[in-house]
Symmetry: C2
Subunit: 201 residues, 2 copies
DNA sequence: CAATATTGAATGAATCGTCATTCATTTTGA
DNA sequence: TCAAAATGAATGACGATTCATTCAATATTG
């Protein structure tokens, strides 16, 4: 069974990233030791430096690669929809599907993104901005069609939407939670945000 | 005798806390050295340990004491108002007044609270929960008066409100005041949240 | 085909700088 | 005068990063 592992999932890069996500989620970036990640990934400490320049870059790569995938997926879903109001509804739905699918990643993004954005110099955070701009894009379209009041600024609304969703993400990933189901979070969030943003007909 | 709380008018205690807020805001908790705070406060490194058991406790004290004051102030303001809808409006207004008044503190709370909540074991975060429960309290009253739909859960709404406000706080403290004024943030936030939560008459 | 050489991925112990915290000493002020 | 407050140099622990070495896979040779 040890013949040729090269065709197997011996992708160390991926293996280390997954271990990092899991460990950062459990202990937080600053309380995680490289040796913790190495142990979780079943590689030597030094191996991590063959794939990532340093600890900061490991976190940044994690964000970048994840956001890339997420952006791609959500764009795909939105492309099928014409009505901006329906797009916004879908965006919210999609958000909760994502956090359900990868709880550890959701936790790392929710808890560590602010810090890293502010304190890791290498990180310009383009991908995250791109993600937020999907929301403001939808809102601009809605405004053009008279579905959202024109005096509300898309740059502010996108942050409110993200902030609300992100805070709900947090209670779900931290509490584990028997208290609120993803479905209830999703439906309450959708109702409040749609009512708040779209013009009532 | 020397260490904790109730020597209200202790100059150094306050002096160190202010320096800590300023320094944490600039460099983040984990990138701040005790010696940085000492320098900012014009005291010796060791002096800080006469007032705070360790670095973690310094951050926790900062949260607790600030939240105490904030809770007290907001309760006072809300007490003058009967209508829960007006209370919610006032809560939002008050939030932005606060961040305008103490930008550094707003930044520290917004950026560091999640981390500390999750990773500092000593910290049970009672005060922050109390703050959030002011919001859910208002919403429960509104529901009792038929002003907010009963099927929306106050525990979810309080988080959405806080999340939205917190995210707007973040763009203001990080970007400086250039792009959006506090007043515009406040008015857009109020409009969206009130429309989202209150039943349209 | 076997023997040998080359390659580069992986290892993990050792290094080295960085602080949080301590405490012997000094300063303050009642 | 002396207890409390303040100081800041010294300590000790920790942990990111390095790099000499190992090892397995593949290539070369005769």
């Amino acid at each position: 069974m040890k013949n040729n592992v090269n065709h197997e999932k011996n992708d160390k890069h991926e293996q280390i990233l997954r271990a990092a996500i899991k460990t950062f989620a459990r202990k937080g970036f600053y309380n995680t030791r490289i040796s913790d990640i190495a142990k979780e990934a079943n590689v030597a400490d030094g191996t991590i430096y063959l794939y990532f320049r340093n600890k900061d870059i490991l976190l940044v790569s994690l964000f970048e690669e994840s956001m890339n995938q997420i952006i791609h997926m959500v764009q795909e879903r939105l492309a099928e929809i014409d009505d901006p109001i329906e797009q916004l509804r879908t965006f919210i739905k999609f958000h909760f599907e994502l956090i359900k699918k990868d709880k550890f990643l959701a936790e790392v993004i929710s808890v560590e993104l602010r810090q890293s954005n502010k304190f890791i110099k290498e990180y310009k955070n383009i991908k995250f901005k791109e993600y937020l701009n999907i929301i403001s894009g939808i809102i601009r379209n809605a405004q053009a069609k008279g579905l959202v009041a024109k005096h509300l600024m898309p740059g502010i609304l996108k942050r409110m939407v993200f902030g609300a969703l992100d805070e709900l993400t947090l209670i779900w990933v931290l509490a584990g939670d028997s208290k609120y189901s993803i479905e209830k979070l999703s439906s309450d969030a959708t109702e409040v945000l749609m009512n708040g943003i779209a013009i009532k007909k």
